[in-house]
Amino acid sequence: MNRKFTGRVWKLGDDIDTDIIIPTQFLALKSVEDMKRYAFYPLRPRLPELINPGDIIVAGKNFGCGSSREQAPEIIAALKVGCIIAKSYARIFYRNAFNNGLLLLENEELYDCCGEGDEVSVNLESSKVSLGKKAFKVSSIPRDLLKMVEAGGLVPFMRERNGK
């Protein structure tokens, strides 16, 4: 994973809950590939077709609140979203996202400054994101956690480390 990347913004609101990210009706589908077509279904059913690899989700506060279902970050990672930049995250989702190789960044101001379709550049080395000429500070991610994201999550990271 490149530590500097640029992506197109998809804007979601506050309190994007896990039932919006993946409704219960689709949780028993066999694969993440089957499930990812229903990402954000109650809110914006066509979003999975519109998201391109590397796009960035920008959201308000408390992203991922609700269920502990790991399918939620898993399908966002499967859509190859570059990262999520939200005002804040719910606790269980935060942990699950990193375990699944999905990068989460926190920033309070970006959401209110950007529009959907804008290009945002992320620099993980300097913990900054930029939108046009404006730059915003984002939470810095510890090196080990970044390595885990780069490996694709906790399990592949452990396997890599154990040489399996």
Partner: protein
């Protein structure tokens, strides 16, 4: 400097004398539980990715099939089959169709002072018995199932001091909705919500579980009530003896203290689509409902069923409204049968369902159609959770649901219980 109950439990589990908020610990887990919402993923990770062979201790792992019971599709039947085969292979205690996972855990396993990790967000329910329960995803759960350990950050604690006494028609459910409405859906993010004060001391176990169960809806890592004589009596009545009775020290440090007086509390309701959009029922204009639901890990226990039965007894529900009632466990169901509550429900026109997550989870029984309105005692009112993406869920107490099922519109239960 003193410690809170939560800090004491985490200190014990990590083999330390003292822990402080912000500290990262590796803790030994007393119990871990997983249900059919995600266990198929846990098994995949365990067998195919970790290539693990053994669960750390089968006596400390529990599998419970409660989310899609009975299975409504071949897909969920496969999930259950996979769980059953794995549980049998590893000699893991296995429950199917006997109730909502958290209620089963409380009835059969939980003791005060334990650290319990489960692959379900409402694991915080066990705080009702003075145990530290917290929900995790599949990867974390699978790692616990394999090693018996987990890393955790020690959270800050928020204290809620409750005084006064419930007025007729007002319940623990109204209190927790009021608190979540006040502090917000992320008001306790990453923190412990500790409930105490003279009112909580007088609360039943059912009431305490109602409070702790919803802590995650404010973002909390766990909810906790100090164990006392009521807790000891409950746990020993179930034949369990070994327990750690932790209470918070006088000089324990809280991030914030909130005060509530039950004398001032009235029936509350969460309006669509967020759990923290909470108002007193009298403040909303007329809302017609299509379906009522009494059940779930928050509100399907015997006391809630009794409150509903009192209102429904001798009355008929509105002919254009469905009322679905699911006791939280087999034990609750049998108790309701012996008290004649099931007769009252069926006589009133309600449908009594088997004990399971049911309507609250939105993927098994009682889903609703486009534009329909559900009034529920479930845990969440997220958009689309009850079926059609364009449907609405309101959350209230069992008494409110019962009173509303009779009138066909959201109704303050106080008129029905006087």
């Amino acid at each position: 400097m003193g410690m809170t109950i939560g800090e004491k439990i985490l200190a014990r589990a990590s083999g330390k004398d003292v822990v402080k908020p912000g500290e990262i610990i590796t803790a030994k887990v007393d119990l871990c539980m997983s249900n059919d919402g995600t266990t198929h993923l846990n098994i995949d990770i365990f067998e195919n990715q970790l290539k693990a062979e053994k669960v750390y201790n089968p006596e400390k792992v529990v599998f419970i099939v409660d989310h899609n019971v009975p299975s409504e599709s071949a897909k969920t039947a496969e999930v259950h089959k996979k769980m059953r085969i794995f549980a049998q292979k590893h000699q893991i205690p296995f429950y199917e169709g006997t109730g909502v996972c958290h209620q089963i855990m409380i009835e059969d396993f939980v003791v005060p002072g334990q650290l319990i990790i489960a692959a379900d967000s409402h694991t915080c329910s066990y705080g009702g018995l003075g145990a530290f329960g917290t929900g995790v995803g599949c990867t974390d759960f699978t790692s616990v199932m394999n090693t018996g350990e987990i890393w955790l950050m020690v959270p800050e604690t928020l204290k809620f001091i409750i005084e006064g006494k419930f007025k007729p028609g007002v319940y623990a459910r109204d209190l927790i909705l009021k608190i979540i409405g006040d502090i917000g859906a992320n008001g306790a993010n990453y923190k412990i919500m500790e409930f105490g004060g003279p009112a909580v001391k007088a609360f039943t176990i059912d009431d305490r579980v109602v409070l702790c169960n919803m802590a995650v809806e404010a973002g909390a890592k766990s909810g906790l009530v100090a164990p006392d004589e009521t807790t000891i009596e409950y746990v020993t009545s179930k034949g369990r003896q070994d327990m750690h009775l932790f209470t918070s020290d006088e000089d324990a440090v809280y991030e914030k203290i909130y005060y509530y007086n039950l004398d001032e509390l009235e029936p509350m309701i969460a309006i669509p689509h967020c759990v923290d959009d909470v108002v007193p029922i009298k403040e909303i204009s007329e809302v017609k409902i299509n379906q009522g639901f009494i059940g779930s890990c928050n509100n399907g226990r015997i006391e809630e069923l009794r409150a509903a039965a009192k209102i429904l007894q001798g009355n008929k529900i509105d002919p254009y409204v469905k009322l679905l009632i699911s006791p939280a466990s087999k034990a609750v169901y049998l108790q309701a049968l012996s008290e004649g509550l099931i007769d009252i429900f069926v006589e009133s026109g309600a449908m009594v369902l088997n004990p399971n997550c049911s309507v609250c989870w939105g993927s098994c029984q009682g889903v609703i159609g486009e534009g329909e309105v559900l009034l529920s005692t479930g845990t969440r009112n997220f958009k689309g959770r009850a079926g059609h993406p364009n449907s609405s869920i309101y959350l209230a107490s069992a008494a409110t649901v019962a009173a509303s099922a009779l009138t066909g519109k959201i109704t303050d239960p106080r008129g029905a219980v006087q």
